[in-house]
């Protein structure tokens, strides 16, 4: 157990193991994404009310779900790096932020593309949309803070503190945005009349959610590998790697 913990702190080991995981996870993810996209976009029945436009759900919902989960991954990594001073947790946290921001952005864009045919408008100040927008700001704040520091060690710690503050605040923000919305606007817009979803539509959706999680993991590992190489650029093992030795 503890030796595993110590190994996690070793950049070359993590670099190698991330590479091994990627070697099988990446193809699986790509296949799952392709299957999910074709299944969802081509082979499911069109929705009774929304016709074909509902199909964007297969991109929108997975992106939104993983964008939310990504913040927790980032915050946990930040906490680990603050408490146990693990450099690799710091690498993980730093690598999470741009991926999470991208996914949040995808969720917002696909949502607004979906909103145009269904609600007749690109943007609504709805509770959920507003919360996602704030989540995007939180992610971008972490990226901006990291880039502002010249000393990358301090940057990691500062971002870890910021993500933890965000972790405490996210439920408060979400709850207050919820209240704000229910106070000010009648719930004139509903995503769909009834929340039940037919199994024939649900299974491809579940597959897409699973593959987006896998995609997040792949991007995270690739990002981490690049970050490790950058940080360890002056060490012997990276030089050997760059010169073409297989370690």
């Amino acid at each position: 157990m503890w030796s595993f913990f110590h190994k996690l702190g070793s950049p070359p080991w993590l670099y190698r193991i991330a590479g091994t995981i990627l070697r099988w996870l990446l193809p699986v993810t790509i296949v799952a994404l392709c299957v999910g996209v074709t299944w969802g976009l081509l082979y499911t029945a069109p929705d009774f009310r929304q016709g074909n436009s509902y199909r964007i759900i297969y991109i929108h919902v997975p992106a939104a779900a993983v964008a939310l989960a990504g913040y927790y991954v980032m915050a946990i990594a930040g906490a680990v790096s603050l408490i146990w001073k693990m450099k690799m947790a710091d690498v993980a946290m730093k690598s999470c932020a741009p991926i999470g921001a991208a996914l949040t952005f995808i969720a917002l864009v696909t949502g607004s593309i979906w909103g145009k045919p269904t609600w007749g408008t690109w943007w609504v100040w709805d509770a959920r949309i507003t919360s996602m927008l704030i989540l995007l700001f939180l992610y971008l704040g972490v990226v901006a803070l990291y880039e502002a520091y010249d000393n990358k060690e301090a940057a990691g710690k500062a971002c870890a503190v910021l993500t933890l503050v965000g972790m405490v605040n996210i439920p408060i923000i979400y709850k207050s945005v919820d209240w704000w919305y229910s106070l000010h606007q009648p719930a004139s817009i509903k995503m769909t009349g009834d929340t039940t979803i037919d199994p024939s539509m649900l299974y491809p959706l579940l597959l897409m959610i699973a593959s987006f999680y896998a995609l997040f993991t792949c991007c995270l590992l690739m990002n981490m590998r690049a970050e490790i190489l950058e940080r360890e650029a002056r060490t012997g093992w990276v030089k050997k790697l760059a010169l073409g030795y297989r370690s």
Binding site: I134, A144, Y149, N151, K157, A158, V161, N169, W180
Partner: protein, 232 residues
């Protein structure tokens, strides 16, 4: 008698710090006036931008006043630790035996007394200029008193994380504004309720709850941020 003076206890140390911050501010009265002047100027921007119709302004007044209070708090947050960071006294503070939690509270308390409290006290004047109905003015003052304290505490986190950076000014807004949003929601909702004649106390209670949470947790984050900034 020992020649070495006894170190002051935490509570006393906290009061000394508070008095020091206030004295420093009183010596430069213009800087106390700046946020108020900012408040007045931005209030003047809204009729110019939205049109002078009194009814329309009255409808927007709760939101306008709250957003301006939030912005002037944000702009002053950046300076809470900066001068002490630059002259090295912040480093001494971190080395002091007294708990940093309380020292940080003293800094934030001084910031609130100099911005939030004063803003809340002058806000009725601007509320009348924006045609806010009279019964809502009391609620506005109460919500600003509670809410700006939360803003000062949360803003302190941003200030602590960016104090070591040369270009902190814009960054602190990006970091902190998302965390200001809940306070804005409940603060303006309280005033709006008061305008409509609905009791505003539930919202004030929620802001008070946020304040309790912020007093308990924000100093921890600020202290951690200051240690990072001073080490970097």
């Amino acid at each position: 008698m020992s020649a070495v003076a006894q170190a002051p206890g935490p509570a006393r140390f906290c009061l000394v710090l508070l008095r020091r911050q206030l004295t420093l501010a009183v010596r430069r009265p213009i800087e106390i006036g700046n946020p108020l002047l900012f408040f007045a100027m931005v209030v003047a921007l809204f009729p110019l931008g939205l049109g002078p119709a009194p009814d329309q302004l009255a409808g927007f007044a709760p939101g306008i006043l709250w957003i301006i209070a939030l912005l002037s708090n944000l702009l002053t947050s950046d300076t809470v630790f900066r001068s002490d960071f630059e002259d090295g006294s912040l480093e001494q503070l971190l080395l002091a035996p007294q708990p940093l939690f309380l020292s940080v509270l003293a800094y934030i308390g001084a910031h609130w007394l100099l911005t939030g409290l004063l803003l809340a006290l002058v806000s009725p004047v601007f509320a009348l200029m924006l045609n806010l109905s009279a019964p809502a003015v009391g609620v506005l003052v109460a919500s600003l008193l509670l809410g700006t304290a939360v803003l000062s505490l949360v803003g302190g986190i941003g200030a602590a994380l960016t104090v070591g950076l040369k270009r902190g000014g814009m960054l602190i807004s990006l970091l902190i504004l998302p965390f200001y949003m809940p306070v804005l929601i409940f603060g303006s909702a309280a005033v709006r309720n008061a305008v409509l004649g609905i009791p505003a106390t539930p919202y004030l209670a929620i802001i008070a709850a946020m304040l309790c949470l912020a007093i308990a947790l924000a100093p921890l984050a600020i202290a951690a941020g200051l240690r990072i900034s001073v080490d970097a």
